[in-house]
Structure formats: structure tokens, C-alpha cells
């Protein structure tokens, strides 16, 4: 799976959720702390499975890693305004779904620089907004929605409680009948029948 040239030219095969494989340079992969911890020291025979993420997402993540190979070491979050044109294009090209997938993959692969830039981008979406607007950006349920949800849950809980009580009652009755000895059961039935007969004859 690796092409054994010089260490900087080593290529690794990456396997996506679709089962597709593509190669990524060792230098790019080394930006992932997860990769460093998992494979770099023990080596990998065959494709490295990152099967929680699709090919497009992984390719996007490693595109970033390949690009930043020659950049200086990561030294904390960078303000969005300080990003290069390439970086800005990289982020602007992504749609919302891809962006979220890239954050998740970047977080899993522990690529500090990319995760940090993505988070800065989210933080930027929140800047200059009040609480109500922030709730919309981070798609949290509103107070009314939470209240409605709570009411539904309370209703469900009450219904479940009723069902449980009924079930318990039925079980108790059955249990009482089951627990009576046969002789006693015969006597109880006989008494009932006698009472019925007497009431009938009285009429």
C-alpha cells in the first residue's frame, strides 16, 4: 500500500465509507494526530480504514492537509481575517453538509489547524448576533419548542403510567386466582352458584 521512496514521498492508501481507496502523502497524514498515534509508529499493511467518513469528505480534509504541508507549525487559532486566499476559497467552496462532515472528520483525525479554522468559521457566524439569532444559527430548539416537547413528554409519561397501572391491576387479579388452592377455588365457585340459585328461586 505504500510506495517506498524517500520518507517524505511515502503514500498511504485511505479507505472511505464507500470502500473506495485513494492515496495521501505521509507528510499530509502526519498532520493528523489520530493517524500519528494509530499508524505512523506501527505501520499499516493495506488501506487505512476511515470508514466513518465518505470519500468526498476525506478527500477534502486531506486536500487541506496536502496544502498546509509546507506551512509553519500550528501555533493556535488564527483569525478568519488572517486566512490566505486559498484557505478562504477552500471554505467557501463547501456547502453546509460538507462543512459539517469536514469538521467531524477533522475532529476525529485530530487535525488541529483545520478543526480550529472550522470552529473559527462557526464562531464568525455567531458574532454580532443576539441570543435569539444565535439560537437560529446553532439550530437549538426555542423556548416554545422546548415547552411543547416537554408537554408531549409529560403526556406520554402519563399515558405510559396509566397503561402500567392497568397492567399491574390485571396481573394482580390473575395472580390472586392463580394463588388460590384448587379446593378453595371449587368452594368459592360453589358459593357463587348457590347465591345465584337462591336469588333466582327467591324471584
Amino acid at each position: 500500500m505504500t510506495s517506498p521512496a524517500s520518507s517524505s514521498e511515502v503514500k498511504y492508501l485511505i479507505e472511505s465509507s464507500e470502500g473506495n481507496t485513494f492515496d495521501v502523502s505521509g507528510a499530509a497524514l502526519r498532520q493528523s494526530n489520530t493517524f500519528n498515534a494509530m499508524f505512523l509508529n506501527i505501520g499499516a499493511d493495506g488501506p487505512i480504514p476511515f470508514t466513518d467518513y465518505n470519500e468526498a469528505t476525506l478527500k477534502k480534509v486531506f486536500e487541506y492537509c496536502e496544502h498546509s504541508v509546507n506551512e509553519e507549525n500550528y501555533s493556535g487559532p488564527k483569525h478568519q481575517d488572517d486566512l490566505s486566499k486559498w484557505d478562504l476559497n477552500f471554505f467557501n467552496e463547501m456547502d453546509q453538509k460538507m462543512f459539517i462532515d469536514v469538521i467531524n472528520a477533522s475532529n476525529f483525525l485530530d487535525i488541529e489547524r483545520l478543526t480550529s479554522y472550522c470552529c473559527e468559521r462557526i464562531a464568525r457566524m455567531l458574532r454580532g448576533k443576539n441570543t435569539q439569532e444565535m439560537i437560529k444559527v446553532i439550530t437549538l430548539p426555542t423556548a416554545e419548542e422546548l415547552e411543547a416537547k416537554q408537554k408531549v413528554e409529560e403526556k406520554k409519561a402519563a399515558a405510559a403510567k396509566k397503561v402500567a397501572e392497568k397492567a399491574a391491576e390485571t396481573a394482580e387479579k390473575t395472580e390472586t386466582l392463580e394463588e388460590l388452592p384448587v379446593q378453595q377455588l371449587v368452594q368459592t365457585t360453589r358459593n357463587k352458584l348457590t347465591r345465584k340459585y337462591l336469588s333466582f328461586s327467591n324471584e
Binding site: 487559532p77 453546509q96 462543512f99 459539517i100 469538521i103 467531524n104 475532529n107 476525529f108 478543526t115 480550529s116 472550522c118 470552529c119 473559527e120 462557526i122 464562531a123 457566524m125 455567531l126 458574532r127 454580532g128 448576533k129 443576539n130 441570543t131 435569539q132 444565535m134 439560537i135 437560529k136 444559527v137 446553532i138 439550530t139 437549538l140 430548539p141 423556548a143 422546548l146
Partner: protein, 352 residues
Amino acid sequence: MSFHINRSPFLVQIEVLKQLEINEIFLMSLCSRKMKTLVQRIRLRPKKIRYSLDDNETQVSVGFTESDEKLHHMAKVKHVSYIPVDEMTSQQLGGERIECRYSKNSLTEVFTFTLEHLEENDKNVLALLQNHCARLFSNKPRIQLEIYSVATLMLSGIINDVKDTSFICEKLNTSEIRRYLRMHSNHESVQVRSRCQGRVFTKKSKLLKMDGLSILRTGAMTPTIMHNFSGRFLLLQNSVLCYQQWSEVIRKWKNKEAYHKLHAMIANNPKPLPNVLNWIPLLREFNALHWDGSRRPQYFKLDPKFVETIHFPQCDPEDIDCTDWLDIEQDGGNKWASIQMTAAQIRFFVWN
């Protein structure tokens, strides 16, 4: 573009919050209970939290260093007499729901938004605000108050554990300061920038027992304040200085009659000092000696607690070079004090 923060990995949520400014973090903490918990997880540990109380608004700032220069503005809350129904929103604050609205401030303001609530809830909202802010941090920051209006003196009683106060209102009666200090009993320092009127402070006054005290317009009260002060740090600005007063301070300290805890006493005079007083007899009286390079260190370090809590504008917290200062020895002990008289001020520092 929206983003499901609840569905994103925990580390991403934390990283997003870490990249926000403190006022944005405050607004985020109001979004939901989960967001508030998340804010608690980023473990903010400010050194101090300052509530600035004015007639109709309260500002909250936090400092992550001792210095006032790096104070971060966190929240601005304002009471209004009316909020149109269509603009009103219900907001969870400090464990209760309040009716309020967010008004956007101009770009020149440090706060992007002001949380406006109805006037009748003023007391309650301040208590809820304090409650909310206190729970956001993983430590217990030092609580400071700035009083911009006399009308807020009573309201300030809602805020607990106040350690430092600055009175910034224009005029203030000494009886109001007395009442205020009875309300907040754990004070460590007070700064009075207001013009004071009323009965002078006596030895029994809490103000003069304060560890740190800074008075901007001491005026005619200077001798009484100097005479009765029993704290550690006294800064008198625009004071009226007299030979007799300083002579008494030095004598009492030297004889161990008073000023047992004294760390520093500084007085600024609006008039150039040499024209006011002739210091040579005073220095002779107490056998003031030039520094010989051995009896005490060259640099004096003012306790940063005072320098930063009571707004000490003349001096940075750096060490003060006392090479040219004169030394006075306390009777029967190894304690030394150094005194310096310049055209602008008199400084009397006690070496520990």
C-alpha cells in the same frame, strides 16, 4: 448557514466557544440550559468581575489578569419603562424567565447588544444577572462595584461579597458611604472619586479601617483622614498637605503608636510642595538617613492588590526605585520606612 451545535462533537463545541469574545459567550449562555452548561465546561476563570451600576443600566465586565486595562466587557442590562409586545421576548436568566428585548448598540459601543427589561423588575434582574454570571465561571472571581449614581447605592445591596468599590458619582454624602459600607461588610478597598460632603470620618469609621483607600478630592478632610486611617494603603489626591500632619504620621509610626499595618501612604498636592512646606526640620526630627545600600532593598514593590483594585493612576505596579529616598527607622525594631518628597507628591513606604 446554520450549524447543529448539539450534534457536533464535544471538542468542536468547546473550540467554538473558546473562539468567542466574552460578551458573545454570555449571549450563548442565555441560549439554553445546555449552552450554559457548555460554557461552564470551558472553565473560564476570571480574576475579577465588575458590576458598574448607573441610573438605569448595569454593565458587567470581567478581568482575567489583575490589570484593569484588559477588562473584557461581558453584559449590559438596562431597564426601560416600555417594551412593545411584538419586540418582547422571554429569556431565561439566573434560573428565572424574564420578559425583555435585545437592542443593538452602535458600532462605537463596546457592547454589541443591550438586554432591556421592564423597570419594575430592576431589583430582580440584577439578582438574576449576578446569579447567572456567577455560575458561568469555574472559580469565584473577586467582586467589584462601580457606583455611577447615588440612586443605585441601595440597589447594590443585592450584589453579594463585594470586595472593592469605586464611587464615581458626582456628589456623595459621607453618611451614604457609611450606610453603604454597613451593607457590604467584607470590603477590602474603596476608591472615592466623588465630591464628599457631610460629617467627617472618625476613627471608628469603616472607611478608614479599609485595607486600601483612595480618595480623589480629599480637600479639607486630609488631616482627619490621615490621622484616623488604620489600613494598609492610603492614596490621597488633590489633598491639602501640612507639616504638622505628616510629622504626626511619621512620629506615630516611629513610636509604634499607630499605623501598625501601614504599607504605603501617598499624598498628591495640587500646589508644588516646596512652596507649601519646608521639610528639612521634619527630616531632622526623625533622623532621616540617606540610603546606604544595605539596610533595605533598592526597589519597593507596591502590593499589586491595591495598585490594581483602587485605580492607582500615578504608579504602575512595577518596582519603585527608592535610591534617593530618605530612610527612617522605627523605634526598637528593625523596621524601616522610606520617604520621598517631590514637587507633586509625598510618598511614605514601609519596608516589610
